[in-house]
Structure formats: structure tokens, C-alpha cells
Amino acid sequence: MDNLFEEQEKSFETKQLTISLGPQHPATHGVLRLDLLLDGETVVKCTPYVGYLHRGVEKLGETKTYFAALPLSDRLDYISSMNNNVGYVNAVEKLFGIEAPERAKFIRTMVAEMGRLSSHIIWLGTHVLDIGATTPFLLAMASREKILDLFEILCGARLTVSYPRVGGVRNDVTQEFLDRLYEYVLEFPARMDDYETLVTENRIWKDRTVDIGIISAEEAVNWGLTGGTLRGSGVDYDVRRYAPYDAYDKVEFDVPVGVKGDCYDRYLVRIGEMRQANRIIKQCIEKLPAGPILADAPKFTLPPKDLILKDMEHLIHQFILITKGPTVPEGEVYVGTEVPKGELGFYFVSDGTGKPYRMRVRAPSFVHASVMPRLCEGGLIADVIANIGTIDIVLGECDR
């Protein structure tokens, strides 16, 4: 009997199917392309291809002064441009050897956490949408819209903000902005409860995410994962805690960590982060100190606009800084900051001129895209979609 069965197996030839998921596919969050080798519905081999959105940001950065390259960082992870800006200016400040005043630090922390909220809201919406639930996506987008409105009040831009400046921030916050932000912060936990009602304990959601894409703590570290993707595996590593920048050492917050390292843990970690971000914003508003918003370092910061218009020396000074750039100490510097996707690092090599000799961006999305084969192989094609959502990548940052 067994023999007969085996013979039948042999005569029934099966073929593996190669399917190209992306670069134009509804679930790949941009232009990620995954070449999947399928045996039925099981993924045998998964090969990610990146680079469809390559714009040469690192090389472009070498052609611009340190001030002028700031907007390039907006275009890395365009969903959380505020966090990229904060990371960029922190790295440049370390290179220049200056420090932003206290008020600017608190404002930066506040807006960075707003950026984190807005990015995590998009992650939540799209991740859940990929699994098939449409309503949380639309509820979440309505909530994100309010953050963008607040950004608009703050600096006039909604998406690519370029609000922080080397040595501080562009302009001070207004009372109206703080009031509306506080209102939003108070209301936000109720919105979170709405999303969680639809998703967290949902039986289907748990079936789709629990025990999917498990990666152990050790492996996660070895793959170079950071951010929520790493903390989901139970590694308590957060740059905000481990190497505090801006005002993160002056606010209280918890770092949620997972246990198993599956999609559901990563989901819970990010949900927790959203509540923590909300908490940080609240503390920043309450503790916001008075004072200047730009460092008193005339060699490295642009002079105020009203003085430029009135005063010849300041005009010349600004002209020199903008065209030639500041005189920067030689050397190299790396600063990592915790952006919503993970650890975003800026590495500068300075040769003493106003432009970086080398600008390198450590993009968490790039590292996370590389772990896709590890997460997907052996799973089903539907799990690939869950995994793309859970590693939370943005291709603008991945391809740079």
C-alpha cells in the first residue's frame, strides 16, 4: 500500500513557483520587491531587492553645507521626518561641539515624539490593513491628520518639516500650539483604546500574528535589528535610554519589551511605545523651560533674521555661513537616535571645510529589510505580508 502511494507521488510531478512580490504591490509599503519561491503556498526562499527609490542622499549630502543638507534627512523616512531632522542636527551638533539650549531640547523631544506617534499610527493602520481590517486604518489616519495639523501650526509644513536647526529649532512654539497639542494628548489614549478594541484581542488578529515570524533575542541582535523590531524579541535596547540625547534624560518613560519575538509581540511593543510617546509629549509640555531656542554659538548657528535685515556684519556672517559653510573641526562623529523605525545613525567625516567629506546614514529600514528571508522562509505567503508590516520599513529610508 505504501509502495503504491510512493509511486503515485513520483509520477505526480510538482513544480515550485517563483512569484515577484512588488515593487508595485499593494502590501509592500512602497517599492520593496521580494522574489518568493513558492511550494504551494509555502515560501521556500525569499530574496528582498531594494534600491528602487535610491536618490543618492548620502552623496548629495557631501555636496551641501551642513545647514543645507538638513532637508535631505526629511526625505529618508518621509513619515517621521521630524525624528530624522532631530537625529541629523544632533549628529551635526556633536561634530561642531555645540549644545542646544534647554528649551530647544525640550521642544525637539516633544516634536520628535509627535513624529513617533504619527509614524506608529501609520504603521498600525497599514499593518492592520495588510492583514485585512480596513476600519482601524481609517480611524488611525484621522488621528494622524491632527498631528500633521499641529506640525502645520508649528512650522508651516506637514510632511517634510525641517523644523529643528543646528543648535536649536527654527522658531519658538506658540501658546496656541501648546494648547492644542495638550488637548490632543489628553484625548489620544481614548483613540488608542478604540484601535485596540478592534485589534489587540481580536481572535483573527491573534491567529494571524501570534507565533508568526519568531526571531530570538540573540538572533535579532546578530541581524542588527533595532527599535521595536528588536524590543519585540525581549532585548531592552532603546537609544533614548541607553545614550540619551535632547531632553530624554529629563522625562520619564518606560521601554516596552516583548517576550517571544513574534509579530504579536512586536505589535504590542509598538502599541506600548505610542502610549509612552504620548506620555513624553505631555511631560515636555508641562516641563517646558523658558529661555532661548538657539545655541549661543555664532560660528555655527545662523544669525537671527531681524538682525540680518538690519545689520551689515550679521548679513555678511550669514552669507559666509550659507555659501561657504562653517569652519568645522576635523574628525569623525557618529550619533544614533531612536527614530520610530529603529536606530537611525548619522556618521560624518569632516575635513575641516563647510561640507562633510563623507556622510553616511545607518538606516534601520535597510537592516530590517535584510531580515525578511529569515522571517519569511518556511512560512506561508500570507505570513510574508504580516512580516512586512511588522518590521515596519519605509523604502525611502532603506534605499536612501
Binding site: 512569484i19 503556498e41 485585512g132 481590517a133 481609517l138 491567529d207 494571524r208 510574508v384
Partner: protein, 349 residues
């Protein structure tokens, strides 16, 4: 009015077989037009209902409150370019949407919308319905196979296995109803329900009703079981490569399928066009309301449930769907059959 109708019916019938054929054709036209209008507005209501669940407004530009939106969509699809992939198997590619749509429409023939109004009052109505809904799966499989696209192919295969698995669960869930009513004729099933105390089979057949409702979602490829067309995995599944009116036929077929499944649920479990006797005894004036009103109200409840679920739930994975079908629904349905049969023999039903 009624007299006039009876008189004209007698007059038409006096022509013998030609008169009868004319009557049936008239009925077909009425059912066809009514069903297609319902399908058109089912899409409109779906968009409206889901929009309001999601803090949106839904269609509101075309006509008052966007009421002409379904027609605008239809006209647009009709004038769209008909694209056929170069690698497609053309005859099958042409045929697939037709099979899908026609098998959905044919099912309408045996549905009694109210007392005495049914195009073909056949004795095996329920079997005919199940047969037609299985036939619709051929349309899906053929479209997936002939499109020459890997996404369509996977969608078609998924659909084939899904429909086969859930066909069994659905058939078994309806066996309880057959045992209780002792008939496969849909009008007889409704009359049988009207005779019992509860007035609906949904109460004694609660397990069967549960299995039917779950299988209903799978049969019509709707969330949470819309795997054949899972847009985040398979782009659009089996109809990825279709455009223009061929796409519209799949679309119409899907919504007709929803309407038919809702009607079957109404007829087999919720008493069709009748109200339970204890309700009409308590509120006798309800008897003056035509049966079609109750029938449609019950169908709309099912349709609303479809929309509601779609706005609430995520999608199951393929293997989980199969596990639910085989390991949960079919055993429940079998238990229900044993239970109902025992009750029938004991004479309690």
C-alpha cells in the same frame, strides 16, 4: 386591485401553454430587474454603511446623496478598455466571468420571494441552489487558470479549495432544515417553519444557523474569508487581470451571490416571507403588510451583517480557513444532524 390581477391572470392563462410561458417570462424579467437593482444598490449601501463606520461619508457626488453612483460605476466599467493579457487562454478567459455571473443569476429562479411568487417551484430547490453556487466556483478557477498570471492562479486555486470545503459545511448545515421540514422545496420549507411554535428554524437549528452563516461568508468570498481576492497578498486574486465589463461581471456575480446567500438564510432559517405566529397573534395588523416586505427586511439584515463584518474583522490565513472549515464547522454540522434526527424520531420537532 387584487381582483384585476386575478382576472388578468386568468385571462393570460386561458391562452394555455403560451400564456404560461408568457407569465414565466414576465416573472423572470421582474426578478432579473429587481435583483440587478438590488445588486447595484447593495454596492451603494455597502459603501455608505462602511464609510459611516469609518468616519467617512461615502459616495455623495453623483446625484442626490450619491444615489446614482452605482449607475455611474456601471457606465464607466462598460466603456472601459477591455484588456486581455497576451498569455491568457482566450476562450476560457472570455467564458469564466460569464459562468460566474450566470450561475449566480440562475439561482434566483428557485427563490420564493413571497407566497406563490417563484419562477420555478421545483422540488429540489435547495439542491439546485447548492449546485449553482458550486458551479460559480468553476468561473473562479477558470479565470485564475486562464489569466496567465501567477497571482490569479493562486487566487483561483485558493478559491477552488475554499468553495469545496465550505460547500460541504453549508450543505450539512442545511440538512437539519431538510429533516425538520421534510422537503427540499423552498416554499415548503417556509410553510413548515410557519407551522412550528417559534416560527423560525434559526432557534431549534441554532447550530445549523451558526454554521450556515460562517459558511455563507466563505461561499461568497467575503471578509474574513476573502482569501481568493486577498488584495494585500494576491493583488486582486483571480480577477487581477480582468478589466472593463468582464470585471463588472465578477463584481455583479459576487454581490448577486451575497443576495442569494442572504435569501437562502432568510428562507431556511428566518421564516422567509412569514412572521412567527406568536408575533402576528399579538399584533394582528402586521398581517396586512405584504410578505415581500418581511422577506426583504430579513435579507437586508443579512446584507448589513456582511458589511458590518467586513468593516470589523481582519482576514484569516489560508490554512486557518481550511482548519475552521474541516475541524470546526463540519463536526458541528454533523452533531446538529444527529441531534435533529434524534429529535425528529422522538417526535419533538
Amino acid at each position: 386591485m387584487n381582483e384585476l390581477l386575478t382576472q388578468s391572470l386568468t385571462y393570460i392563462r386561458s391562452f394555455g401553454i403560451i400564456g404560461n410561458i408568457f407569465l414565466i417570462l414576465l416573472q423572470i424579467v421582474v426578478v432579473f430587474v429587481a435583483a440587478l437593482l438590488h445588486v447595484a444598490y447593495a454596492t451603494y449601501w455597502e459603501r455608505k454603511v462602511i464609510a459611516h463606520m469609518q468616519l467617512r461619508l461615502g459616495p455623495r457626488e453623483v446625484g442626490p446623496y450619491g444615489l446614482f453612483q452605482p449607475f455611474a460605476d456601471g457606465i464607466k466599467l462598460f466603456f472601459k478598455e477591455d484588456i486581455i493579457p497576451a498569455t491568457a487562454d482566450k476562450p476560457i478567459f472570455y467564458l469564466a466571468p460569464v459562468i460566474f455571473f450566470v450561475s449566480a443569476l440562475t439561482s434566483l429562479a428557485v427563490l420564493p420571494f413571497f407566497d406563490g411568487f417563484v419562477v420555478a417551484d421545483i422540488n429540489v430547490g435547495l439542491l439546485f441552489l447548492l449546485a449553482m453556487s458550486s458551479l460559480g466556483a468553476y468561473g473562479i478557477v477558470m479565470s485564475g487558470w486562464s489569466s496567465g498570471s501567477k497571482y490569479s492562479f493562486l487566487g483561483g486555486l485558493r478559491s477552488a479549495s475554499q468553495v469545496i470545503s465550505y460547500e460541504i459545511a453549508m450543505g450539512l448545515s442545511l440538512v437539519g432544515v431538510m429533516i425538520m421540514s421534510g422537503s427540499l422545496n423552498l416554499s415548503e420549507i417556509v410553510r413548515g417553519q410557519h407551522a412550528i411554535t417559534t416560527g423560525v428554524y434559526a432557534i431549534p437549528q441554532v447550530l445549523g444557523f451558526f454554521v450556515f452563516v460562517v459558511a455563507m461568508f466563505a461561499e461568497t468570498n467575503r471578509l474574513p474569508f476573502d482569501l481568493p481576492e486577498a488584495e494585500s497578498e494576491l493583488v486582486a486574486g483571480y480577477f487581477t487581470e480582468y478589466s472593463g465589463f468582464r470585471f463588472a461581471m465578477f463584481f455583479l456575480g459576487e454581490y448577486t451571490g451575497m443576495l442569494i446567500m442572504s435569501s437562502v438564510g432568510t428562507i431556511c432559517f428566518l421564516g422567509g416571507w412569514t412572521l412567527p405566529q406568536f408575533v402576528t397573534n399579538a399584533l394582528p395588523f402586521l398581517l396586512f403588510v405584504p410578505g415581500i416586505v418581511w422577506f426583504l427586511m430579513k435579507v437586508y439584515c443579512f446584507m448589513f451583517f456582511y458589511y458590518w463584518v467586513r468593516a470589523t474583522l481582519p482576514r484569516y490565513r489560508y490554512d486557518q480557513l481550511m482548519a475552521i472549515g474541516w475541524k470546526v464547522l463540519i463536526p458541528i454540522a454533523l452533531v446538529n444532524i444527529v441531534f435533529t434526527g434524534t429529535m425528529k424520531i422522538m417526535g419533538w420537532f
